[in-house]
């Protein structure tokens, strides 16, 4: 099936197998490998992207469902070479170790801050319930998001 999708500001048109997951389209066809596959049950959040401005798990969607949509991935978050405040926050507050969950964490947090610019610690933790990190114990991820919240 043919799809038209705008990813990180660039328009693409591709023929895809109907069963292709959006995450595989992004990774395999567009070679945007910053979006990761960490599980097969939409449980880990490593594949989180923005679809028309909303954080979604790209392993839960078929590529054909993104037809006509705008997608933002971690690669498209920085603007004009300037890191997004969340990217800066994760660096400043040591919010990542192995880095595998990080793109998903950042994309989820970006959605949170859009709707709730000054979240409490509890609200941050609640917003991350669909994203698993095995390295940090979340302590510094929370601080990273608080850092970005202050900056934004």
């Amino acid at each position: 099936m043919k799809i038209n999708v705008k990813v990180n500001g660039t328009a693409y048109s591709h023929d895809v197998e109907p069963r292709t997951l959006l995450v595989h389209y992004l990774r395999d066809t567009l070679r945007l490998t910053g979006t990761h596959v960490g599980c097969d049950t939409s449980g880990c959040g490593a594949c989180t992207i923005h679809l028309d401005g909303k954080a979604v798990k790209s392993c839960t969607l078929l590529a054909v469902q993104a037809d006509g949509c705008e997608v933002t991935t971690i690669e498209g978050l920085a603007t004009n070479g300037n890191l997004h405040p969340l990217q800066e926050g994760f660096h400043q507050e040591h919010g990542l170790q192995c880095g595998f969950c990080t793109p998903g964490m950042i994309m989820t947090a970006a959605d949170l801050l859009k709707h709730n610019p000054k979240p409490s610690e509890a609200e941050i933790r609640h917003a991350l319930e669909g994203n698993i990190c095995r390295c940090t114990g979340y302590h510094n991820i929370v601080k990273s998001i608080q850092y970005a919240s202050e900056k934004m």
Binding site: R19, T33, G34, C44, Q97, I106, R134, T136, G137, H139
Partner: protein, 789 residues
């Protein structure tokens, strides 16, 4: 002495940028020209005869390139075990073959029966569905205590009673029994230290590739130790010449032990890449990670601690059945023995200790080192017994520990402490961390708060754990005598470029630990240069001479020390070059802050001048080689012994039994710290995993040998809203036997935290009048609620 510009400072990580911008390079991100994709046909039965494998239909399916079955690899060796443990009678442990694909018998759910290679991931999976396997299902056993009983189903027909080894350490049983019989109080616990799934967020991924022109293989692998994988795969499995095999561990998304081992899939993609003449990628799906990444823990233990009337420990007796799974993973045999039994002295002066371990095969996935590896199991035994003993005897658990601590020793003026279980501790100040922990927690006011909370219907509890662990396992000669089939040194090469920039090649492997930052800090400070002028290279057997990798919290203590050895050689040679140019004796040259100076004068040359001279040796000592590039092997004199005090506070919801971790204080002494931010991060992550074991995690096998919770929907991983902010503190007792003073921080959090949390729950229950001794981990709401009734 060079002033420290970087060491001890929380420098932000230099490797972060690629991870936060989506530009990291994990194995699954790599695409090679002509690459194919692999998928496995895996056994749905824990124990079954494989009567027939029919691949004819699958082979004809679109995109299928090749299919291999157990018969095809029958002549290929299995993956080896790297540590030999002997039976008490001296016989060698049982080591059944662990084949790349099974031919006639499956021994756990997920055992691979066929490997399908196709043009795409989807086509490979389609073809897997079309492979028809005729199984004859047999009965199975999953519990190690059951597996040793007469008549239990056998995992391997030639391993009687499923016993891989039996083993003991410490004082003779008769002496321990005698000491125990004189105890005025004996605290006993019988429990399961449950099986855990490591769950690194990056699933294992491998790409095998073969270049027929140069007869050369490349394996990309999400591993913690590329050189070790190359050695094991070449020498023991595939019989390939090592110089014709390149192993690359690119960015790796967490390991926690599970990516130490040489897995069958690594060897299989490498072997098949030659057969089909094209690269093959296999990436585990999360279900496969749950089923097949080597699991951790799984001990059935009876432990008894005897106290005299004052509370001094007089004896410790431990009997454990350790579940090894169906096959021996790379280090499976040393975890319940040399990494568990040897830690049962803890921080205490216990005079008589005996530990008896039976290693048992069952029809389950392999069990091996998972963050902490044996030390969490040992710490859990000791710290649970101490807190429970305190409750039973009506003593304060902090005071009971204080009474039993080994007194402080620095390992220099005072000798190391010889334990009853084979180790000699390097240096320690155990009462120091306890004191700091109690103060940070405000322990003295806790009982008052607990009583006040009880008045408003809340059940609070406090739990303490004071742990010791052993890192940087070494020296090679000693571990060799204990059964290790590898050396446990590390390699560090420091190459000074002609312009004075420095490339460092380390055999350590970072999969989240921040080596590119910590090692740069270390090198820059020692050479008196800017951190930006140092590059850390790791993970590729083609660029790094050799290496033993990263596990057992060894990178800084062992890998860092190898780098320091090379730096020392650089400085020594630099002094000779400087002396020649400055017309002085090398003995009269000092090196500090990046300058070589004639003692007592202002005549000096910079590091950059010396580097350039070494490569443009026009004015140069006659008897000295050009160049400034040294490689060193560092084999430590001893293990290192980090220790610490963890204190947990929990609140139990009376109505539901839900445990909330309200506070967690961790005071860890990991020796000299290079980057406190990174060390704290390691502690946070370790604590979260330890809390995960206490409250949330655990495999559930049914009677048929099925893992019934093999997904993130079913296996409860700690999430952000399950945990509080952690309160960390530190104490520094340098390691006396390595040049950095570092002891290791990677596993400490995971070792200390689990018993602290469980102790806190038990304390809470006792405060509510429920004098329970134990609740099986994880302490789910249902189990805690039941204990409250």
């Amino acid at each position: 002495m060079t002033a420290t510009k970087y060491i001890g400072k929380s420098i932000k990580r230099v490797e972060d940028k690629r991870f936060i911008t989506g530009k990291a390079n994990y194995t699954d991100d790599i695409v090679l020209p002509g690459m194919t994709y692999g998928a496995f046909v895996r056994s749905p039965y824990a124990n079954a005869k494989v009567k027939k494998v029919d691949i004819s239909k699958a082979k004809a399916m679109p995109g299928v390139v090749a299919i291999y079955t157990g018969a095809d690899v029958a002549a290929v060796n299995g993956v080896p075990c790297g540590w030999q443990v002997n039976f008490k009678n001296g016989a060698t442990m049982k080591e059944p073959k662990h084949p790349l694909l099974v031919a006639d018998r499956t021994r756990h759910v997920g055992d691979p029966v066929a490997f399908v290679i196709a043009e795409s991931r989807a086509e490979a999976k389609d073809a897997v569905e079309a492979v028809a396997v005729d199984y004859e299902k047999l009965s199975c056993v999953t519990d190690p205590a059951e597996a040793v009983k007469p008549g239990a189903p056998l995992v391997h027909d030639d391993v009687p009673n499923n016993i891989c080894f039996d083993w003991e350490l410490g004082n003779p049983k008769s002496e321990v029994d005698a000491a125990m019989s004189k105890a005025s109080h004996i605290t006993t616990l019988e429990f399961t230290n449950q099986r855990l799934v490591p769950n690194a967020m990056e699933p294992r991924s491998y790409i095998g590739s073969y270049d027929p022109i140069n007869d050369k293989y490349t394996l990309y692998t999400s591993t913690q130790n590329p050189h070790l994988i190359r050695l094991l795969m070449c020498a023991f499995v595939l019989g390939l010449p090592e110089h014709k095999v390149r192993v690359v561990g690119p960015d790796v998304g967490g390991g926690f032990g599970s990516k130490i081992y040489h897995y069958t899939e690594e060897a299989l993609v490498t072997w098949c890449s030659n057969k089909i003449g094209r690269p093959i990628k296999w990436t585990a799906e999360r279900t496969e990670s749950f089923l097949l990444d080597a699991h951790g823990r799984d001990h059935r233990t009876k432990a008894e601690m005897g106290f005299d009337k004052d509370g001094k420990i007089v004896a410790l007796r431990v009997k454990t059945h350790a579940n090894l799974g169906a096959y021996l993973s790379t280090f499976a045999s040393c975890v319940p023995t040399y990494l568990h039994g040897t830690l049962l002295q803890g921080l205490y002066t216990t005079p008589k200790i005996n530990v008896d371990v039976t290693g048992v095969f069952t029809h389950t996935n392999a069990v091996d080192a998972y963050r902490g590896a044996g030390r969490p199991e040992a710490t859990y035994i000791l710290e649970r017994l101490l807190d429970l003993g305190a409750l039973e005897m009506g003593k304060d658990p902090a005071e009971l520990r204080q009474l039993n601590f080994i007194p402080p020793f620095d390992g220099v003026k005072q000798p190391g402490y010889q334990t009853q279980v084979a180790l000699q501790y390097d240096s320690g100040n155990y009462e120091g961390v306890l004191k700091k922990g109690l103060e940070a927690f405000n322990y003295k006011d806790f009982r008052k708060r607990q009583k006040e909370a009880a008045k408003s219907g809340k059940i609070l509890g406090v739990g303490i754990s004071t742990y010791i662990e052993a890192c940087g396992i070494a020296p090679s000669a000693v571990v060799g005598s204990l059964g290790a089939r590898a050396g446990l040194y590390e390699v560090g090469q420091v190459r000074v470029q002609p312009t004075g920039k420095v490339s460092v090649y380390t055999g350590s492997h970072s999969h989240g630990q921040g080596h590119e930052t910590t090692f740069s800090q270390l090198v820059a400070d020692r050479l008196g240069i800017a951190m930006e002028d140092v590059e850390i290279i790791h993970g590729d057997s083609e660029s790094v001479a050799f290496g033993m990798g990263t596990y057992g919290s060894r990178s800084l203590a062992v890998g860092g020390s190898a780098i320091v050895k090379s730096i020392d050689k650089i400085i020594e040679k630099g002094k000779k070059i400087a002396a020649h140019k400055l017309e002085a004796s090398a003995d009269d040259i000092d090196f500090a802050d990046g300058r070589f100076t004639i003692k007592g004068t202002s005549k000096s040359l910079g590091f950059g001048d010396i580097a350039l001279t070494a490569y443009v040796p026009h004015v140069y000592p006659k008897d000295l080689e050009p160049g400034l590039d040294f490689s060193s092997f560092y084999d430590p004199a001893n293990f290192t012994y980090p220790f610490g005090c963890h204190i947990a506070e929990v609140e139990i919801d009376k109505e539901t039994g839900k445990v909330t971790l309200t506070r967690f204080v961790a005071v860890d002494d990991v020796g000299t710290v290079i980057n406190p931010m990174i060390v704290e991060g390691q502690i946070h992550g370790g604590v979260a995993q330890g809390v995960g074991q206490a409250l949330f995690e655990g495999t559930i096998y049914d009677d048929e040998g099925n893992l019934t919770n093999p997904s993130f929907m079913d296996y409860c991983m700690p999430r952000a809203d399950d945990l509080p902010m952690f309160e960390t503190g530190s104490q520094v007792t340098p390691c006396p036997h390595n040049p950095i003073g570092a002891k290791g921080a990677g596993e400490a959090g995971c070792i200390g935290s689990t018993p602290a949390v469980v102790n806190a729950v038990i304390d809470a229950l006792w405060s509510a009048g429920k004098k329970v001794k134990d609740i099986h981990m994880p302490l789910t709401p249902e189990r805690v609620w039941s204990a409250l009734q």
